[in-house]
């Protein structure tokens, strides 16, 4: 781990969760360039001047914001620095941080802004010891999560994953470091099978991040459906029937109306998409911009259909998204019994509820259905879930390296090549668990195989 001042880093600088305002900071050579690509305003950004404008990512408008630009060396870090103040919603912050990363920034390590400030001489000597302590304690907490210090089931699962990778690497290294006469060669197919098995485990953990995030930030529930199906009525019905959590910043964007309700242990963030159907990119033409983004970001998608207007072809959704969908068959008060039973048949096998948003019937069934769906997500994550983005990113990268090693093995590359990707996967896992050394691999080899003449 080295101090690399060249890269541009981005991070949320205010505490996570909901708040009146949130500040995202960018620091490094490319900060200015990155914000120029994301921020539109009538005024030019100028050193130390707070400018009001709008943030956009490649999918479109995100939020209004106040952006202040500090030119190096006159900034906190001593580098080009940008402070973005926007509404305090984790959802929006995620969007803007992701957008900055897409423009070339990387996520900042704990204490990295302060570290850069120190290294660029922005702090005096008496503060230096304190800085070291800050960095020390920040990465220390990451470290307690490492090398067997991770407690509970999460630690167990992660270290099982790691030792499975170490085993695979050992088998390959064994073949490279000991003569053929002494050992048995494991067939490539078997190696590939083992890698795929580990990879699947990692994937399950990655998926559990969604549940972890839900616990922290609330369940994102976009309400979608054809025009006049009753999205807004349903939205209002929820607010009437359930306990509303007053969010300090109602309506995080002008396009969506968002309110939070609490049901059981969960906070559901209802997003009324009614407002966007009038624009070009309505939900019906799914595949574009905001709507698509909402479908992806949503944890539960409430798909509202007016049963009296039920057409044979309901919007085609990808498998990934349709797993998240709950169908709300609205205006059941107007429907005749035979229609109801016909609709029931049509939606058999899919989670669906009848309701009348107008007369507030069936709302509790829907909310308890939403809780059920979240509970299922929890079960899928084997009661273990990851809550830190850092862990998710490490697992994501580990999985990518594993996939590369599978490709490599499939292409019949020699073992010392396959091992490069596998070792990279170990390095990635090392970000959670502490690094795997050559000695660890050799120890594993010696304890499992009888080698040496």
């Amino acid at each position: 781990m080295g101090v690399e001042n060249k890269s541009t880093i981005v991070a949320l600088s205010t505490p996570g969760g909901f708040g009146g305002i949130a500040v995202v900071r960018l620091s490094g050579d490319k900060s200015f360039e990155i914000i120029q690509n994301l921020f539109k305003s009538k005024q030019q950004l100028r050193h130390r001047l707070a400018i009001f404008g709008r943030l956009y990512d490649k999918n479109g408008y995100i939020d209004t914001a106040i952006v202040t630009y500090f030119k190096a060396p006159n900034s906190y870090t001593g580098e080009n620095l940008v402070e973005i103040s926007l509404h305090g919603s984790p959802f929006l912050c995620d969007l803007i941080i992701t957008a900055c990363k897409q423009e070339g920034a990387r996520g900042a390590a704990p204490g990295e802004f302060t570290q850069r400030a120190f290294l660029n001489g922005k702090m005096d000597l008496s503060q230096a010891e304190g800085v070291a302590d800050i960095i020390y304690s920040a990465s220390r907490s990451a470290q307690t999560a490492s090398a067997g210090l991770l407690e509970g089931k999460f630690g167990e699962i992660i270290s099982n994953i790691k030792s499975a990778v170490v085993d695979i690497v050992s088998v390959l290294e064994l073949e490279l470091d000991f003569q053929e006469e002494e050992i048995q060669i494991t067939p490539k197919d078997e190696i590939i099978k083992q890698i795929n098995a580990v990879s699947a485990k990692i994937e399950a953990l990655i998926n559990s991040y969604d549940y972890g995030k839900i616990c922290r930030e609330g369940v994102v529930c976009p309400i979608i459906g054809p025009p006049n199906s009753g999205k807004s009525s349903l939205f209002n019905a929820f607010l009437k029937e359930e306990r509303v959590i007053v969010s300090p910043s109602p309506g995080t964007t002008r396009d969506f109306i968002e309110e939070s309700i609490r049901v059981g242990d969960y906070q559901f963030r209802l997003i009324d998409t009614a407002g966007i159907r009038d624009t070009d990119d309505s939900i019906e033409s799914a595949g574009v911009s905001k709507s698509k983004d909402l479908l992806n970001k949503g944890n539960i998608i409430l798909y509202v259909i007016d049963i009296s207007e039920l057409k044979a072809n309901v919007l085609q959704l990808s498998d990934e998204i349709s797993e998240k969908v709950i169908y709300i068959l609205n205006k059941s008060d107007l429907a005749k019994p035979h229609l109801i039973s016909k609709v029931k048949k049509q939606f058999a096998g899919q989670q669906h509820y009848f309701c009348s948003a107008k007369y507030l019937t069936g709302i509790h069934e829907i909310t308890s259905g939403m809780v059920k769906k979240i509970e299922r997500l929890r079960q899928e994550s084997e009661s273990v879930f990851i809550t830190r983005l850092r862990h998710k990113e490490a697992l994501d990268m580990a999985r990518k390296s594993l996939m590369k090693s599978v490709d490599s093995a499939t292409a019949d590359n020699p073992s010392e090549i396959i091992v490069i990707d596998l070792r990279e996967a170990l390095d990635r896992l090392g970000a959670i668990l502490g690094k795997t050394t050559n000695e660890d691999i050799l120890n594993n080899i010696f304890s499992h195989f009888c080698i040496g003449k």
Binding site: M1, G2, V3, Q115, F118, L119, L125, A128, E129, V131, A132, D133, I135, Y136, S139, R140, A142, Q143, E173, E175, L176, D177, F178, Q179, E180, E181, E182, A411, D412, N413, P414, S415, E416, I417, V419, I420, R423, G434, T437, N438, E439, I441, L442, F446, C450, I451, G452, K453
Partner: protein
């Protein structure tokens, strides 16, 4: 006669001879102290040089002007390239040596070397003034002044041999051990520990039933170790394979009560990759059989090395055990197998030049550093010898890092990990393995050897020519488009899918399993003849093209690595006051006293956050 000898090498094993020869060649008046001139470069254990990863070391020693490669090329009696079924990076040569010829050939070179004198004696004490070595005391020649000394005492320091319940002092079987030197080093503050190693029995060749064992020959088309070896047509004398049986294991098991290893008599730590046969049957009890290799110790030898049967069990058990092995029913033992415990000096006490951190001018090399193997020893001897010479000449020290050579990995592992079992080189220890190949050792290192005056102009130029040819060939492959009519017949021939429009040759070569030989006809005649001038160059071109992505990744990693390696830590740094570093890391850093941030980061117990804190302090 003050400083008649500038550099003294104590010990004439594989480390000692490389150290003495290189130091003399660097114009340093050098003295080699050995117990017995005829024992110089004796092969204590198996009659072989090289092996996986070790072959890399030998090639690197060669590219830096050492002797081992050249001498085994002359005296080897069977050559084999190991791992041929794997990728090129892990190919490594191994040769059966004619033990007698090998040491005679080295002795000849030692005796004929200018600036190098040899005496038979035993060093007993290091004389230090102002933290610098000034003399070596010997039994028969008294105190011999020097500017530097290199201790390469192998297993001789307080060597203790075990055979069954018998134990007696010795440096090797039938050779005296060296007493006094360890104590002298301890007195000046250098810590020592105990290690153990072992060797199998030697049996009479004419007592083997060759109808029951399987001959194993070397390569028909052998590749020499040294890039300076030009005419190469070595002998190909076979070894023989047999295996232990259930009966063998039962016999050995019943002897365990008289095993010094299992009765607790041996306290030194032995190498896990070179386990004794009793260790194998105890630790892997489910195995009914272990392979045994019968290796002739020299040409027409009546003495055969029983590889795979290293043991310290009592002689009667050794003999009965051997006789339960197919082909060895009537075997007679010439020398029993034995274990030996000896003193070593934990390697955290060394700089990367192999000079001790404590005493200026005192270098340690070979098994006393806690390594095992002739190749590891020779590599360390070479580096210590070069640095002793540079030290005397008051020139900048010489070292190799992990990205440059296996030798760099070896030394870095020693000084940052300080292993407490005998260290052996593995390819898996080299993170930049793809770049550190046997076949490119000359291209990687001969410019360094040349700079030191240890590689002559001719071979230096050869390495440069090879490098230029590879580059030209890669350029050609990456810029030449081949049309379907020309390449499709070749592709069809190899059951490869054909192409429909022009494709870069490089793309064709990158197809899995496709070999460069099928593309050579596309090269212009002059380039082709340049490629063919050196054996194996086509393969090297292929690796560079096929694995370009991976090679590139390693090169990028090396950039990062080099940055940390270039951050020096002052030797005087007081770690005890650095509060932002964990207590464990403080202790480790104080003990190892790393020379660079890179080294510090590889010390077990020092975490990335400790390194960050350290870097912040150093930036101040």
């Amino acid at each position: 006669m003050k400083h008649a000898f500038e550099n003294i090498v104590v010990g004439g094993g594989h480390a000692g001879v490389e150290a003495a020869l290189v130091s003399a060649r660097m114009d340093i008046n050098t003295l080699l102290i050995t117990m017995e001139k005829t024992a110089i470069a004796r092969m204590s254990c198996n009659p072989a040089i090289g092996g996986l990863a070790k072959g890399h070391l030998v090639a690197e020693i060669d590219a830096l002007g050492g002797e081992m490669a050249k001498v085994i090329d002359i005296t080897g009696i069977q050559f084999k390239m190991l791992n041929r079924s794997k990728g090129r990076a892990v190919w490594s040569p191994r040769a059966q040596a004619d033990k007698n010829q090998y040491s005679l050939e080295i002795q000849k070179r030692v005796m004929n070397q200018d600036n190098l004198s040899v005496i038979e004696d035993i060093a007993t004490k290091i004389v230090v003034e102002n933290s610098r070595i000034v003399a070596v005391e010997t039994i028969n020649h008294g105190s011999i002044p020097c500017k530097t000394a290199i201790i390469t005492a192998g297993t001789f320091l307080n060597g203790l041999i075990h055979i069954g319940m018998d134990q007696f002092s010795g440096g090797r079987l039938d050779e005296k051990s060296a007493v006094g030197l360890t104590e002298s080093l301890n007195k000046i503050g250098i810590k020592s520990g105990r290690l153990k190693t072992g060797t199998p029995p030697r049996i009479k060749a004419d007592t083997i039933d060759y109808t029951k064992v399987l001959p194993q020959y070397g390569d028909k088309d052998p590749i020499p170790f040294s890039f300076q070896t030009e005419r190469f047509s070595p002998k190909n004398i076979p070894c023989y394979i047999t295996h232990t049986t259930k009966t063998t294991h039962e016999i050995l098991y019943r002897g365990l009560d008289r095993s010094p290893l299992y009765s607790g008599k041996i306290r030194g730590v032995g190498p896990r990759y070179c386990p004794s046969i009793e260790d194998k049957i105890v630790r892997f009890g489910d195995r009914n059989s272990h392979q045994i290799f019968l290796e002739p110790e020299w040409e027409n030898a009546n003495q055969v090395y029983v590889n795979g049967f290293s043991t310290s069990l009592p002689l009667d058990i050794q003999l009965r055990g051997l006789r339960s092995i197919p082909g060895l029913e009537n075997a007679e033992i010439i020398k029993p197998g034995y274990a030996i415990e000896y003193d070593y000096f934990p390697s955290y006490q060394l700089k990367r030049t192999l000079e001790t951190k404590l005493i200026g001018g005192l270098f340690l090399a070979g098994q006393v550093n806690g390594t095992s193997g002739y190749e590891e020893a020779a590599a360390l001897g070479l580096v210590a010898g070069i640095n002793a010479a540079l030290n005397i000449r008051e020139e900048k020290p010489f070292f190799l890092d992990r990205s440059e050579a296996y030798i760099g990995v070896l030394i870095d592992d020693l000084i940052t990990k300080s292993p407490n079992e005998p260290y052996r080189m593995f390819t898996s220890s080299a993170e930049y393995r793809l770049l550190l190949r046997f076949d490119n050792a000359d291209m990687r290192l001969s410019h360094k050897g040349h700079l030191l005056g240890l590689i002559n102009d001719h071979y230096f130029k050869t390495a440069n020519t090879k490098r230029a040819t590879i580059k030209a060939a890669i350029n050609f492959l990456e810029s030449t488009t081949v049309c379907p009519a020309d390449i499709n017949p070749i592709l069809q021939n190899q059951n490869e899918s054909t192409i429909h429009s022009g494709v870069l040759l490089q793309k064709i070569l990158c197809r899995p399993g496709f070999h460069i030989s099928a593309l050579l006809s596309f090269f212009p005649a002059d380039l082709l003849s340049r490629i063919r001038q050196y054996k194996g160059l086509d393969d090297q071109i292929e690796i560079d093209v096929k694995y370009k992505g991976y090679i590139h990744r390693q090169i990028k990693q090396i950039d990062r690595f080099k940055r940390q390696e270039s951050l020096r830590i002052p030797g005087s740094l007081d770690y005890s006051n650095i509060k932002s570093i964990t207590k464990e890391a403080r202790e480790k850093l104080h003990k190892f006293r790393p020379e660079t941030i890179g080294q510090a980061s590889r010390i077990p117990g020092v975490s990335p956050s400790d390194i960050t804190s350290l870097m912040i302090l150093l930036k101040r």
